[in-house]
C-alpha cells in the first residue's frame, strides 16, 4: 500500500508540472494531496488525514479550481517554457533534492521503541490550549489573531465603496 501511495504521489507530482492544461494540473495536485492523506491513514493518524482532506483537498484545491473556472477557457494551453528558465528551474530542484537526500542519508534512523500513542481529539484540544510546559496556547492565539486580521482585510478589499461620490 505504501508503494502504491508513494507511486501515485511521485507520478502525479511530475504530471502536475508537466501538463499544459491548467485544470488538469489542479486535478493531479488533488491526487497528490489525497495520496498524502492516505499515507496519514496508514500511519493511523486519522486526525491529520481528515485535516489534510478538508483543508487541502476540500478547501484549497476547490478554491484553485474555482478561480481557474472564473479566469480560464477550456481551450487554453500553456506555452512551453524557455530553455534558460527550464535549466535554471531543474538546477534549483536538483540542489534542493540533493540537500534533502544528504540530510536523510547522513541520519541513521532507528525504529522507535516508544509505545504507540493514541491520538485523541481531547488530547489535541487540551494541548492546544494549555498554558503549561509544551502547551501551544501562545502560537494558537497568535495564529487566531493573524487569521482575524486576514479576514478583516479580505472584507475591506471586497467591500464595495457605495458612498464614494456622496462623501466627496
Amino acid at each position: 500500500m505504501f508503494y502504491l501511495f508513494s507511486g501515485i504521489i511521485l507520478i502525479c507530482s511530475l504530471l502536475t508540472i508537466t501538463t499544459r492544461r491548467i485544470l488538469r494540473a489542479a486535478v493531479y495536485l488533488l491526487c497528490v494531496l489525497l495520496s498524502t492523506a492516505g499515507l496519514y491513514f496508514m500511519l493511523k493518524y486519522q486526525f491529520m488525514a481528515a485535516v489534510q482532506l478538508t483543508l487541502y483537498a476540500g478547501g484549497i484545491v476547490v478554491l484553485i479550481i474555482f478561480s481557474i473556472l472564473l479566469t480560464h477557457h477550456i481551450t487554453h494551453r500553456f506555452k512551453h517554457p524557455d530553455l534558460v528558465k527550464l535549466i535554471m528551474g531543474v538546477g534549483a530542484a536538483l540542489v534542493g533534492a540533493g540537500l534533502v537526500f544528504a540530510t536523510i542519508f547522513s541520519n541513521s534512523f532507528q525504529p522507535a521503541s516508544v509505545q504507540e500513542l493514541p491520538v485523541d481529539m481531547t488530547v489535541i484540544g487540551t494541548q492546544l490550549l494549555s498554558t503549561e510546559k509544551n502547551g501551544y496556547v501562545l502560537p494558537f492565539e497568535l495564529i487566531s489573531i493573524l487569521l482575524l486580521a486576514a479576514m478583516i482585510a479580505a472584507i475591506v478589499i471586497a467591500k464595495k465603496e457605495k458612498n464614494k461620490n456622496t462623501e466627496i
Binding site: R21, L23, R24, V27, L30, Q46, F47, A50, V51, L53, T54, A57, G58, G59, V61, V62, I65, F66, I68, L69, L70, I74, T75, P118, V119, D120, M121, T122
Partner: protein
Amino acid sequence: MTSNIYDFSTLTGQIHTWLSGLMSPGWVTFTEFVLVGLVFLLAYALLGLFLVYAERKVCAFMQNRVGPNRVGKWGIIQTIADLIKLLLKELIPIRKSDPFLFNLAPFIVIICSFLAMAAIPYAKGLQAIDFNIGVFYVMAVSSLSVVGILLAGWSSNSKYSLIGAMRSGAQIVSYELSVGLSLLSIIVFAGTMQLSGIVESQANGWWIFKGHIPAVISFIIFLIASTAEINRGPFDLAEAESELTAGFHTEYSGIKFAFFFLAEYMNMFIVSAIAATVFLGGWMPLHIGNWEGFNQIMDYIPSIIWFIGKTFFVIWVIMWFKWTFPRLRIDQLLTLEWKYLLPISLFNIILIAFIVLMGWHF
C-alpha cells in the same frame, strides 16, 4: 443499564472465526474486504433505486397524483426498468471537451459518497470503520464531492454546465460552514467525535431532547444547510431545469449520468443518516431517562429498524422541503447562509458551550 439490544459484532465475529477456520489470515482479510465491499455495493445500488422510487411517490402524493403505477405492484419495478434503460443508452463523447476530466468527474462524486458511507453506524456493532474522528471524517470526505461537480461543469465545455458548476461550488463551499458548526454543537454536548461514541451518549435520551432549544436550533440549521449541500430543492440552483437544462450534468448521458443521479440520492441518504445518528440517536432506541420498563420495551425493536426508520424520516422531511418551497435565487441563497444561518449557528455554539459548562443538559 442492562441492554438486550442485539449486537451485530457477534454475527461478524462468528463469520470471522468461521473464515479463519477455512484459510490463512491473509486470505481471511482479503475475503472480508471483498465481502464488505460487495455488501456495500449491493446496499448502495438497492438504496439508490428505492430512493428514486420513494422520491417519485412522495412527490406524487404531495401533488395529489398517483405517481408510477404501471410496472409491477404500485409501480415498484418502475425504477429498475428506468435503470435498465439508462444502462443501455449510448455514451455520447463531447467534441472540444476535456475527455479525461469529463470521464473522471462522475467517479469522484460517487467515490466520495462511498467513502462517507463507510463510517456510518447502521446498527449496534454494524459499522465498517469506527474512526475516533468519525464526524470530522464524514465531513472531510463529503467536502470532496464538490471537486467532481466543478470538474464536470468545466470539462463539458458548455455554458449551462459551467454556470451550474459555479453556482454549485459557491453553494456547497458556503453551506459547509453551517453543516460543520451545527454538527460541532452536538460534539460539544457528547464530548466525542466518534460516531459510535455519540450514539452511546444518547442511551438516556436523544440529543434533540436532551439538548434543550439549542439542539433543536442546530438540528434545523443542519437540515437546511445539508439540503443545500446536496443540491436539492429549494436549493437546486446548480441544476435548475427551467434555467440551465440540467446544470453541471447537462452533457452527460447513459451510465455516467446515472452515476451523478445515484450519487445525489445517496448523498441525501448519507446526510439523513448523519442527522439521524447525531441528533436522533442513530440506532439507539427511544429511551427516556430512568424509565427502565419503557426502555426495556423499546429495546425489543431491533436497532437497525430504529436506524432505518429515523433515516427515512429525515429523508422524507428533505423531500417535503423540495416539493413545498419554490427555488431560491442565487443572491437570496448566499444571503440566507452568510447573514442568517452562520451568525445564528455561531451564537448557538457559544450558548451550548455555556450550557455544557454549567451542566444544565441532562
